[in-house]
């Protein structure tokens, strides 16, 4: 009986709303700085690589190099605006601000808390993810209808990476340990994603690694949305992003429950 009652009360809208409202009101007080870092950082990459490398190579994989990087750094912007805020934000709210103690004393369960926070970060990632593409348009990338899908693709990927960040915050005992994840996981994934150079020039093992890298699939899918879809391959890219998002979401809930409920 009790199991059924609990299932009836899972992922309730008012609970998700409550957590979202808290995030949105808070965001209103720091949106300037986070918008700045989420959009300027990938833009710097875009300009540095686009013009630095662009002076050596004019085309990569058949694309103009600035357009190649402009579409690739959408993934960078998504990663930076979802995984990192999730890692640090979650840990700070848990450990230093004790926000979660207050929220979980209200009629909100850990599952709802995690879901709402990840959802909010994925909306932000969907928005910020478009910044490099817009900059690239200013530098000559031709607008296309497929670009309208980019915010949604970025949102799905952002949901996965925000969940990933929450998993890390849930597993780690200290904020210093985040450095291991940044250096050993995120930086390599960020580099073998086909953002700045095509992966087919890499050794075999790195190419295999790229296939299980959600960022690679995000880069490919965004590029195809902008320059033209390849239905078969893109369904696989989308499938990987959705699977990554679902897996990380459930893991985030699992580890946060372990952390928050004694």
């Amino acid at each position: 009986m009790s199991a059924q009652q609990r299932r009836l009360g899972r992922l309730e809208r008012p609970a998700l709303m409550g957590v979202l409202v808290r995030e949105i009101i808070n965001f209103a007080s720091f949106w300037r700085s986070s918008t700045f870092s989420a959009t300027v950082e990938p833009t710097v990459y875009l300009l540095a690589f686009g013009f630095g490398f662009g002076s050596l190579v004019s085309t990569v994989g058949g694309y103009d190099y600035v357009e190649y990087v402009g579409t690739g750094t959408v993934a960078t912007a998504v990663l930076f605006s979802s995984a990192f805020p999730a890692m640090f934000g979650t840990f700070i709210k848990y450990k230093f601000q004790r926000t979660y103690d207050a929220i979980l004393a209200a009629p909100v369960d850990t599952e709802e808390l995690v879901t709402a926070e990840v959802l909010w970060l994925s909306v932000r990632a969907g928005t910020y993810g478009c910044a490099p593409m817009l900059v690239a348009i200013a530098f000559g990338l031709d607008p296309s209808w497929g670009m309208l899908l980019v915010p949604f693709i970025a949102m799905i990927a952002g949901f996965g990476w925000a969940s990933f960040g929450t998993v890390i915050a849930g597993v780690m005992k200290s904020i210093d340990n985040f450095n291991y994840v940044t250096s050993a996981v995120l930086t390599p994934l960020f580099l073998v994603a086909g953002t700045f150079f095509p992966i087919d020039g890499l050794p075999q093992w790195a190419q295999v690694l790229a296939q299980i890298n959600p960022l690679y699939h995000l880069v490919e899918l965004v590029r195809h949305a902008v320059f033209g879809f390849e239905p078969g391959a893109d369904l696989i890219h989308l499938g990987v992003l959705v699977a990554f998002a679902l897996l990380m979401w459930r893991l985030a809930i699992h580890f946060m429950e372990k952390k928050l409920i004694d």
Binding site: G9, M17, I25, A106, D262
Partner: protein, 291 residues
């Protein structure tokens, strides 16, 4: 139906039994004080009431709802004031209250009025646009309490509500708690300030090492365990030890009072008399050594 009932509740952390077969009841409309030294299991008990800790054994019922099975419904009816301030410091007073009006599902058309009412309770109406960072300690604590009341809960869980505050601020908060009780709200308040429990609580449960070692009205507990009067003897440590041994040999309970020794239940014992108090009972039952 009591507002809160715990029966045989056990919570273990590895080898440590933080709460050990605890029975506790808060009759509707009363204020129950949960009194005990640090580490007695008060905070763990509080966390179990909101299902932030899951008991290993025993039953918890809040307003007729079994916890943790139907904890979410129970939480919607409870107001929680935590020991550690967890307000959103970059938000204003009003924003903090508004967020909790959402979290506690106050219906849309009542939200504004609920926030105004809470501002009134906290006496912060003219500070509504002040960021929490810029409030004094007393104001923050008032806001923390008002935040827990924004949805007009039937049961309030206060965890050490006045810890670390100035005497003036404590008295102000006592008046606030007393007003809530007079309005018919049920209250469970954990504290290690004896005076607080003596003033506010209808009944007191004294906890030690995770167990309830005594329960009753403050007056009854004092009479039962410490008698009507105590004799207090002052002197150098050697003398105090001698008095302690003598009194114990004669069958009296004693407690150390720092610079003196108090002989409790002092009928027939010669010396300077004083009325007994809840602190005598507390020290007698929870032990003189600090854990």
């Amino acid at each position: 139906m009591p507002a809160l009932r715990l029966r045989g509740v056990v919570k273990r952390f590895g080898n440590l039994t933080a709460v050990d077969h605890l029975d506790l009841e808060v009759p509707e409309g009363t204020c129950v004080g949960l009194l005990g030294p640090n580490g007695a299991g008060k905070s763990t008990t509080m966390r179990m009431l909101t299902a932030q800790a899951i008991p290993d054994e025993g039953e918890i019922e809040i307003l007729g709802l079994p916890v943790p099975a139907r904890s979410k419904e129970a939480r919607a009816l409870c107001g929680v004031v935590p020991q550690l301030d967890n307000l959103d410091v970059t938000l204003t007073v009003e924003q903090n209250l508004r967020v909790f009006a959402y979290l506690y599902r106050v219906p849309r058309n009542e939200r504004k009025a609920a926030v105004e009412r809470a501002l009134g309770i906290a006496n912060l109406s003219d500070r509504r646009d002040t960021k929490v960072d810029n409030l004094s300690g007393g104001m923050r604590r008032r806001l923390l309490i008002a935040r827990g009341l924004v949805h007009q809960p039937q049961l309030i869980l206060l965890d050490e509500p006045t810890v670390g505050l100035d005497p003036q601020v404590r008295q102000e908060l006592w008046a606030l708690v007393d007003r809530l009780r007079s309005e018919g709200v049920s209250i469970l308040m954990s504290t290690h300030y004896i005076e607080e429990a003596e003033r506010l609580a209808d009944t007191v449960t004294i906890m030690s090492h995770g167990k309830a070692v005594a329960a009753g009205t403050p007056r009854a507990l004092i009479t039962e365990h410490a008698g009507a009067e105590a004799v207090e003897v002052y002197g150098p440590p050697a003398k105090l030890q001698e008095v302690e041994l003598q009194a114990k040999a004669a069958g009296y309970s004693t407690r150390r009072t720092g610079t003196s020794i108090s002989v409790l239940n002092a009928n027939g014992y010669e010396g300077e008399r004083r009325p007994t108090n809840l602190e005598d009972v507390f020290v007698l039952l929870t032990g003189e050594e600090i854990a």
